[in-house]
């Protein structure tokens, strides 16, 4: 014996999916119709730097000592400008990720990176600098960043150059950054590396 047929609308209304869609629609419509208070969260994000610094070391033979110093900008022509918002104190971090260091160890016997920075209002020669051997005597140089925050999930084995705290208590400030690569002794590579590169990551953490 055939079960009795329900009318068309009864069959539709009994579907659970239809009931869910209906309730969701009512909630949305209801929120428009009702009175409510509005809070707003204002924010402003200023680019830390707008400069994309690219330095070309060129092509070199393997197992070759290179006395040339390669410049990514200079004191009078800085490579990057970092903007510090008013009333903020920032730690600026520049570092080479672990994966890039592994490649550098295969390609270089030695290579050193020096980062320079100064306030835009500072006089000539009033700058700070920090050097780090990325690879020295065939071994890459790990330094864990201090503190290891700012980039979740990157892991502890990173080569970091930690700049001192830069603060802007009164108004927005501009700082200049530039860097050098020297102390290059290429590795005794067996095959050409081809054109390749390593990154220097830059980020800041508010104190």
């Amino acid at each position: 014996m055939k079960p009795p047929k329900f009318p068309f609308f009864s069959r539709i209304f009994l579907k659970p999916a239809f009931i869910v869609v209906l309730m969701f629609t009512l909630i949305i419509l209801g929120s428009y119709a009702a009175q409510y208070y509005a809070w707003s969260v204002g924010y402003q994000i200023t680019p830390l730097t707008t400069s994309v610094v690219v330095v070309d070391l060129g092509a070199h033979s393997g197992a070759t000592s290179v006395p040339t110093v390669y410049h990514g900008g200079s004191e009078t022509n800085p490579a990057a400008t970092l903007s510090i918002p008013s009333g903020k104190t920032l730690n600026i971090y520049t570092f080479i990720p672990h994966s890039a260091l592994d490649a550098l160890e295969n390609h270089f016997y030695s290579i050193r990176l020096t980062v320079y920075w100064k306030k835009s209002t500072a006089g000539l020669g009033e700058y700070n600098s920090k050097s780090i051997w990325l690879v020295y005597n065939g071994v890459h140089h790990y330094v864990s960043p201090e503190p290891n925050i700012g980039l979740d999930g990157v892991g502890p084995n990173m080569n970091a150059i930690v700049s001192p705290t830069i603060s802007s208590a009164v108004g927005p400030e501009t700082w200049y950054f530039w860097f050098e690569v020297d102390g290059i002794w290429t590795g005794a590579v067996q095959t050409s590396t081809g054109p390749t590169s390593f990154p220097i990551w830059v980020y800041a953490v508010e104190v």
Partner: protein
């Protein structure tokens, strides 16, 4: 395509298919893990290219020598030398000379550098004093021949060893400081 016919109506079955569900979950997890690494930093970049200094190294079988005798070995086109910068000083150094002195009365390893058919420079390496020499070369690809002249010592038993020449370069300046280098080697045995 993710829809299963059931009577008249169709309903989505994407997440009922376990393989597709697994793919979707994996995709979401990978996206979550990757996003923190790609976000939140500015990147500066340092470009470079490194080309092997020596290439096409010819394989050499072990050299058999006789004690108390003089002999020579000529290895033509032992390897190619790739110089990328004008004024590059390429160094050649005879290594492990302490062992060589025990096996040879005299040993001269001549490095002959050719530009095409023309010999540019010949560098004789001999112990104990002239073990390291250099050639100032312009940007080019060179062929290198190695000629070995030896007088083996009057040994009473079989000995074997390796003649090793270290090769490295310095751009623009002179420095005999040995860091990393390529090795050109040839094995030998001396019979009484």
């Amino acid at each position: 395509m993710g829809l299963r016919r059931r009577g008249v109506a169709c309903e989505p079955t994407f997440f009922k298919d376990s393989r597709k569900s697994l793919f979707a979950i994996t995709f979401l997890l990978v996206s979550l893990f990757l996003s923190p690494q790609t976000a939140g930093n500015y990147t500066w970049q340092v470009n470079y290219t490194i080309v092997p200094l020596i290439q096409n190294v010819k394989p050499i079988s072990s050299i058999n020598m006789h004690a108390g005798r003089h002999g020579w070995v000529n290895v033509t086109e032992a390897y190619k030398l790739i110089v990328l910068k004008n004024g590059t000083n390429v160094y050649f150094k005879l290594m492990d000379t302490d062992t060589l002195i025990q096996h040879f009365t005299s040993l001269v390893v001549q490095i002959v550098i050719y530009d095409g058919l023309k010999a540019v420079v010949t560098l004789p390496l001999r112990f104990p004093e002239e073990t390291c020499k250099y050639a100032n070369l312009t940007k080019d690809n060179y062929n290198v021949d190695v000629r070995i002249n030896y007088v083996a010592k009057s040994l009473t038993e079989h000995v074997s060893g390796t003649i090793t020449v270290a090769i490295w370069a310095v751009e623009q300046t002179l420095s005999e400081e040995v860091g990393t280098y390529y090795k050109w080697t040839v094995n030998y045995t001396i019979s009484p």
